[in-house]
């Protein structure tokens, strides 16, 4: 009897389930599922601290005044601004704004909303304090015209305006939700925030009234999957459409990437990043072996750069020739020749000239944690051993490593920087300005008025061509001082199901926009 009950139940339920399955297939083609390792933090410009997942969602829900133009991200284009001019002294920015744009809550976008948003971020977001504090005044000239006056020239300001922290929020929604705005973010972007479930997902739905045209997808689901091997299985199984590497060194090992490249259901999108990883010296130290530039040069010649790229990264990283990556608009092509080449014999000779007996050096090579950093450290260790230097690897948790670095308790360490805005300033100023030596993980440059003046001048020169020339000189000057050995730049890698089309991988910062994406 019971068996019959079961059979009848199943017969009733089956059509229900299959119709659900059909609906599911249709929904699948209009839905993009993106795997992310953790919940986003701060889903709105006023509190966002450049955390990658939240930042990417912001760029899809909100618009900025300007944005970097795909696919090479070397020039700015207008988004909510239709055009702009910069005064000769580089302090005044006049924007013309787009007309007829509406926020997702139906309210109109205008210059007052821009003023409201930027002033709000300036007041609430300590992460952008240094740059937003430069804003002296924001004036609403008319509903479609806006004037921003800075207290000092800062040409990278436009670059900052392209960042998620400078997204334009709906003033009406901020008033409505108050403190809870981050749980109900409202912008003008191609996707509107729908829901978020802790440790599970964030759902965005298409904004059909988007001013650049309705997106092709009807929703985006950010699925939180903390384990890397689970993310890979989900991608291979079709449970997610996109897995991002996000420039993190620990995300997916090179051999996994090879396996995914061989899978015909998956495509691997790669693009150059502006991330730099280096072996750096404690340049503030006036004693010790590396206070002599010859000793630093020796180390730079001891490293087999191409071997590292092929052996450890299997081609998923690129060569870095100096303080800027080759895809930066300010990269000096001469650096390719100036960069030290792998030459262990020369390295030994330089050490001898510096009066250093390599076997007397017992170096502690500090590094971040994680298997890939471990592999890099081991590779460098072997290179150093080839010229007779004994180095022990100390992989340290990030906060402890930061303390070691900022307090200067090291001779050599592995380190890196991911610029959070697309401008040479993001690498050069923080990395090499001597007055900032102890304030972050930097090259700890010693007092050097000539170099400091040049860096500050480049930071403030409004004319882009003049600025570029200044950065060219700065790169050569820094190279002469050999503050470190530039090891590699990891590529940004995005794994997508082969039916995902129209995705352009954004390089700086690595935050993708899904407006143009569709599924076949």
């Amino acid at each position: 009897m019971k068996i019959w009950n079961g059979i009848v139940m199943a017969a009733v339920a089956l059509p229900l389930l299959t119709s659900a399955a059909f609906a599911q297939e249709d929904a699948k083609l209009k839905t993009l599922v993106v795997a992310v390792p953790s919940d986003p933090v701060a889903l709105e410009p006023g509190t966002n601290k450049a955390e990658p997942i939240g930042s990417e969602i912001i760029l899809n829900v909100f618009d900025t005044l300007v944005a970097w133009t795909a696919p090479d991200f070397k020039a700015l284009e207008g988004r909510l601004a239709s055009s702009w001019t910069v005064s000769d002294d580089g302090k005044v920015f006049d924007f013309k704004l787009r007309e007829g744009v509406k926020f997702q809550d139906g309210t109109a976008f205008d210059a007052a909303a821009v003023k409201f948003s930027l002033e709000r971020t300036k007041a609430t977001n300590p992460y952008v304090k240094a740059t937003f504090d430069l804003i002296k005044e924001i004036t609403v000239v008319s509903p479609t015209e806006l004037k921003i006056t800075l207290s000092a020239a800062y040409p990278a300001f436009l670059s900052i305006l392209a960042q998620p922290q400078a997204g334009i929020v709906s003033p009406a929604a901020v008033e409505k939700y108050g403190d809870k705005f981050a749980s109900h973010p409202v912008g003008t972007g191609p996707f509107a925030f729908k829901s978020a479930q802790a440790d599970t997902n964030v759902v965005l739905e298409a904004n059909p009234a988007y001013f650049r045209g309705a997106p092709k997808l009807s929703q985006i689901i950010y699925r939180v999957i903390p384990d890397a091997s689970t993310r890979r299985l989900e991608l291979e199984n079709g449970g997610v459409d996109i897995v991002q590497q996000q420039g993190q060194l620990s995300a997916i090992a090179a051999q996994d990437i090879e396996a995914l490249k061989a899978n015909k259901d998956v495509k691997v999108l790669e693009t150059s990043s502006q991330i730099i990883r280096q072996l750096e010296f404690n340049n503030s130290k006036t004693d010790g072996p590396f206070s002599n530039v010859k000793a630093r040069e020796a180390i730079a010649h001891a490293i087999d750069y191409d071997g590292l790229l092929q052996g450890v990264f299997g081609g998923t990283a690129e060569r870095v020739y100096g303080p800027l990556t080759t895809n930066s608009w300010a990269f000096n092509p001469k650096m390719k020749e100036l960069a030290p080449k792998y030459d262990p014999e020369l390295a030994k000779k330089l050490l001898a000239e510096a009066g250093i007996n390599p076997s007397s050096l017992n170096l502690k090579l500090y590094s971040f944690q994680g298997p890939l950093w471990g592999a890099v450290a081991t590779f460098v260790q072997a290179n150093l051993a080839d010229i007779g230097i004994n180095a022990t690897i100390e992989q340290t948790e990030f906060p402890a490593l930061r303390t070691l670095q900022t307090s200067g308790q090291f001779d050599v360490a592995l380190d890196g920087r991911q610029p959070w805005y697309n401008d040479p300033d993001a690498h050069i100023t923080i990395g090499y300005l001597s007055s900032l030596a102890n304030t972050a993980m930097t090259f700890r440059m010693p007092q050097d008025k000539a170099l400091d003046d040049m860096i500050l001048k480049a930071q403030q020169t409004p004319d882009m061509e003049a600025r570029k020339q200044l950065y060219f000189t700065i790169q050569e000057e820094i190279a002469k001082r050999v503050p470190g050995a530039y090891l590699f730049s990891p590529k940004l890698i995005v794994f997508a199901r082969s039916n995902v089309e129209g995705l352009v991988v954004n390089s700086a910062p690595p935050l993708n926009e899904y407006w143009s994406v569709s599924k076949k």
Binding site: A21, D199, R223, P226
Partner: protein, 336 residues
Amino acid sequence: MASFILRRLIALIPVMCIVLVIVFSLVRIIPGDPATTLLGPGATQDQIEALRAQLNLDQPVILQFYHYVVGLFVGDFGYSLKSGQPVAAEILQRLPATIELSVLAVIVAVIVGIPIGVLSATRPNSMFDHVTRLVSLVGVSMPAFLLALVLQLVFATTLGWLPVSGRVSPYLPVEPVTGFAVLDGLLTGNLAGALSAVQHLILPTAVLAAFLAATLGRFVRNTMLDVMGEDFIRTAKAKGLRRRDVVLNHGLRNSLLPAVTIIGLKFAEMLGGAILTETIFAWPGIGRYMFEAIKNRDYPVIQGTTLVFALLFVLTSIIVDVLYGILDPRVRRKMG
């Protein structure tokens, strides 16, 4: 019995206080502060200082402790440094997922483990006994992450029967009512969602249950073999009782006592194992929440989740003691 439970509950207070002091100081001894960790390698000292001030981390530790304890009395576990949300609410949000998984795993482990133990004990050294011994050995010694990966590869990737991870299909979202996905699916009339939630439960439950079922199976087998050699079993047999009654009413009942202890202890251990299982299966429970918090040095969350785990641990041991009383009249008399 009631006064026994009350006494045990009162004894809970000093235990929780000690746990609180230990956790509060331990999380602060781990090097690295939350502001540094949250902002990542690119941040400058100014940015870190600004965030520290925003999170009140610049206050003296004693003051932080005082505020925390005062807050606890009114059910305030503080705010997560990462999300800025109240910790108590975040824990409550995630608790159903963990309870769903662990309670189901215990039930499965008991349903599978005990009969296997009984059958093995009644046929010692038979083929069945040898096979279950081997399987149990694998179950006990295989690390959870490896078992999880094997199950994902076999049942999700190769056979395509079950989903790899998650709690419910993203295309069939279940409206949260109680927080228990299967139940919520049924309550909101979302049958497909409920079914999807059941499918998603199978693999993580299997991983969590495997260890307990294997331990339990071997344990019941061994204690039962001992019990079956006792005089009263011979007496029972001599009275002419049916074999089934001898095994179940006399043998099993007397072997269950130590098994209950094992279930209690292992249940608490399983909550720890849930950290790994929840991470691998992207299961939104408190184990994974705690793991993330440790990585981020999210002090209030580490404290809050540890207190919850400690509470579950102690409550489990009280339940075990009460079950002892129910199963064994001698213990019941002592409890008063």
